[in-house]
């Protein structure tokens, strides 16, 4: 459905955009909120992402994964840009305090939603060695560059890179098709539509 909507967007269909919004705005908003801890900022990012999709839906490349995977990447990238810009404006200490404690959403290690998919992700994260698990948590919600992350964790840059290579590879094995089949179960519209990708 989402793929078809992206194609229709290229032809300027507002209805397709509305449909994409129905299916993805909670996913985009939840990711942004987890990083930014600010509802107004997270909504602004959501609007930016969806406007960006409207302007350039063609930047999606099917050979690089699913629409949802692409959307997660785009959302994180845009949100992290905003977070870094905010850090430049505020004092480091103030932002550090904010990011160490994501205010409104738990880390992927602490899912609270029931459901097979969530349980499998949680179980997979629990199997990771503690160092990899911590890194994934910080990488997911920190919005730091790799050198900042190394400094924050007190690790050599090489170790951070190695762990970041190994953790997704292990998660991929553990999750099996979960990632490939990941749906935007976030939105009400998707909870009844299981054929999105």
């Amino acid at each position: 459905v989402l793929h078809a909507c992206l194609t229709r967007l290229n032809a300027g269909s507002e209805e397709a955009l509305a449909q994409i919004d129905d299916h993805t705005n909670s996913l985009v908003y939840s990711i942004a909120l987890g990083l930014l801890s600010d509802r107004a900022d997270a909504e602004e990012v959501t609007l930016e992402i969806l406007s960006q999709i409207w302007r350039g839906a063609s930047s999606f490349r099917a050979e690089r994964g699913t629409v949802i995977g692409w959307l997660v990447m785009v959302t994180r990238s845009r949100t992290i840009d905003r977070l870094r810009a905010r850090r430049h404006r505020s004092s480091e200490a103030e932002v550090d305090g904010l990011q160490d404690k994501p205010a409104e959403t738990p880390t992927p290690e602490e899912p609270t939603i029931a459901g097979e998919q969530q349980r499998r992700v949680r179980a997979a994260l629990a199997v990771l060695p503690i160092g990899q698990r911590q890194l994934i948590g910080l990488a997911w919600y920190g919005g730091y560059s790799h050198s900042e992350l190394a400094e924050k964790m007190g690790l050599p840059l090489g170790t951070v890179k190695t762990r970041l290579r190994m953790a997704p590879a292990r998660l991929r094995q553990l999750l099996g098709p979960v990632g490939e089949q990941a749906q935007c179960t976030s939105n009400r519209a998707c909870r009844t539509d299981r054929h999105l990708i």
Binding site: A18, D21, P106
Partner: protein, 132 residues
């Protein structure tokens, strides 16, 4: 994937640990923007090794995202979104005085139901309904 702005693009034949690390950093958004842009440009060249690895990484990212408890944004978000894109469209559609040059590759060209025929609205007067 060295961070050299004008370095020639390479097509990789196998996935090394270094490549895998760089792509993981890219996928997680941990690179500085210039490094990230360099990798994005490399991916655009169509390097199958890197695009396949990224596909794999995005599936992990999608898996992680699926564990996030959903939070709905404000109910009026869709209304605001549609208002925003209409306003942007209108801004784009109001040409300044004098000659207005439209390049074939720029602007929001819309497809029609007829193959090979598309159109671009370059002027719209909401009062008179006159459009070009």
């Amino acid at each position: 994937l060295e961070n050299k702005r004008n370095a020639p693009q390479i097509v990789h034949v196998e996935l090394t640990d270094t490549l895998s690390e760089e792509l993981a950093l890219f996928a997680f958004g941990l690179l500085e923007s210039e490094q990230a842009m360099h990798i994005a440009r490399h991916l655009e060249t169509g390097c199958a090794v890197c695009n396949n690895e990224l596909r794999s990484l995005t599936s992990v990212m999608a898996g992680l995202a699926s564990s996030i408890p959903p939070i709905d944004p404000a109910p009026d978000l869709k209304k605001r979104l549609l208002a925003r894109i209409r306003s942007k469209e209108q801004e784009r559609e109001q040409p300044g005085p004098g000659m207005y040059i439209v390049r074939s590759g720029s602007g929001n060209w819309r497809q029609t139901q007829w193959n090979g025929i598309s159109y671009l609205r370059i002027y719209n007067d909401p009062v008179t309904g006159f459009a070009t």
